[in-house]
Amino acid sequence: MNMTYEIKRMAKALICIALLSTQLSCGLVSAAEPENTPALSAEPIMKIETLPEQYPASWFFAHDANFQSLIAGRVIIVDSAADTKEYKAAIGAAQFATFVESKALPELYVAETFYSRGTRGDRTDIVSVYDKSTLEKKTEIVLPGNKRSMVVTNKHNMRLLDNDTFLVVFNFTPASSATIIDAASKKVLNEIEMPGCNMIYPNGPRGFSSLCGDGSMISIQFDEQGKEVSRNLIPSFFNVDEDPVFDKPSYVDGIAYFVSYLGDVVPVDMSGAVPKVLPRWSLLTKNEVAKNWRPSGWQVSTGGNGKLYVIMSQGGFDGSHKSGGERIFVHDIASKKRVLDMKLTTPAFSLELLNTTPETLAVTNVLMGVDIFDAGGELQRSFSLGDSAMPLVLHAVRN
């Protein structure tokens, strides 16, 4: 059988079909086959792309928890301003990992957990350290005790403090503690316990706070060797049973804005060694309260430039706080006035304000796509970051 002939015959037939669908004539086929053009050159192999050491402000990090295969999560680097090649790169982030970008050093940190046999065997908790430009793994910091907190992606599971001098990892066994790491030397300095209190909320010159089960806050400062130097308890400042605050505050100018299930904003000044709870205010009008407008989503708020962005949903009820919402309310923090009310085509699940001028808002929608909005709240572009990607948390590039 003359296969070559057969294939050629078929190819021609199919070209005609293609032409029909693109509304071009068959005559173009020969026009597309000039005989005297130079051939394309051979290309070098082994070429690997690199990234700039300082990422542009339009870039962001999308943390794909990969719930379908949790041991194979990843952090994807995306350019919000790109109409082509928007996916810049990815690094691994295994098993309920946490990610943070250093501003002081050209490094990325991923706290993650591995087993010697994938899902079983010996456990090793580490912080993987990546070079920002090559994305090569420079080194790893082994976390003592294998007690890293594992929770659906939450930025406050690991934070950089004191101008990125200290990397602090939250542990949960369910006993709570924080592992203090010197970011420059990668040495583990100390472990500080804060029983019954959770997450790392940076505050003061060199310290962090954690929220406790009764709505109180414990605040700890440490010295250059990571040793605790002060501990303060801020008495319960919200009602956990009636109207808890989300555990993912947005920091704007040293103030952590906690948003409550029912739509209040609870600001806490974190600039001093002892957090200071500021007067709470509501995102909602009376009419909106009556219609049960409530914050809802995962990374439910973001802030910057004196503004607070919150994902909102109408008809809220007990249990609706993680569903995502069809609106984004933007409030001017100083005046507490709503300056923008974004009506979304696809409801939002998580959001992050990027450090661009003018403003860019990156949103993970409930279909797990990523939508980019401009300062006026207009949709600019929509990205898919993978067929089974779940980019639950977005991180702005710090610059």
Binding site: S69, Y115, N154, N198
Partner: protein, 184 residues
């Protein structure tokens, strides 16, 4: 691996995109804001010849227990009012047991769910099953009474496989611990 999958992704996503936005959103919001909060009626499913748990390609179930209505392979099942994850019922386990080869985490979070058959509130323990990769079937997230991580015992975001030999999460159960104090 095969193009077919890409085509599947493409075709289904395209279908979703091409379908009128309104109907898609309606579908999403019904499922989101409806199903999660509607107590299951024991009559509907039992009477139907074509039970639908909402997961195409997953067989429907009953718990087999008198007074325990609904379908343990459905996200709407009454015990799942604060669950988050893959339903073990769809993964070789059941509402109260783990699939073969996994281990059950002894530490967990607790919810209070109303059984529509007797109107009582029950304390439900959402023990995770651990040690095998994510089951991938019947992903379900409901959050009645769910509190943030600073109240861990009422939080379903935490990987509760922390009490097991392997912390790799496979699926979640919903086990009756007893009648809630108010209803006892």
């Amino acid at each position: 691996m095969n193009k077919l999958d890409k085509i599947f992704e493409r075709s289904t996503r395209k279908l979703a995109q091409n379908t009128s936005r309104r109907s898609v959103l309606a579908g999403i919001s019904t499922a989101l804001f409806g199903a999660a909060s509607i107590p299951l009626l024991p009559i509907a499913k039992a009477a139907s010849n074509k039970p639908d748990n909402g997961y195409p390609g997953v067989g429907s179930q009953t718990s087999g227990i008198d007074g325990d209505p609904g379908d343990p392979s459905s996200c709407d099942y009454w015990r799942y009012c604060a669950i988050d994850g893959f339903l073990c019922s769809c993964c070789g386990g059941s509402a109260n047991s783990c699939p073969p080869g996994t281990e059950m985490s002894p530490i967990t979070w607790i919810g209070t769910c109303k059984n529509p058959a007797d109107g009582r509130n029950y304390i439900i323990s959402y023990n995770d099953c651990c040690g095998i990769t994510s089951c991938g079937r019947c992903l379900c997230n409901r959050n009645e009474g769910d509190k943030p991580t600073y109240r861990p015992q009422a939080n379903n975001d935490i990987n509760w496989c922390l009490g097991a030999k392997s912390s790799v999460y496979t699926c979640s159960t919903g086990i009756i611990l007893g009648v809630a104090l108010d209803d006892a």
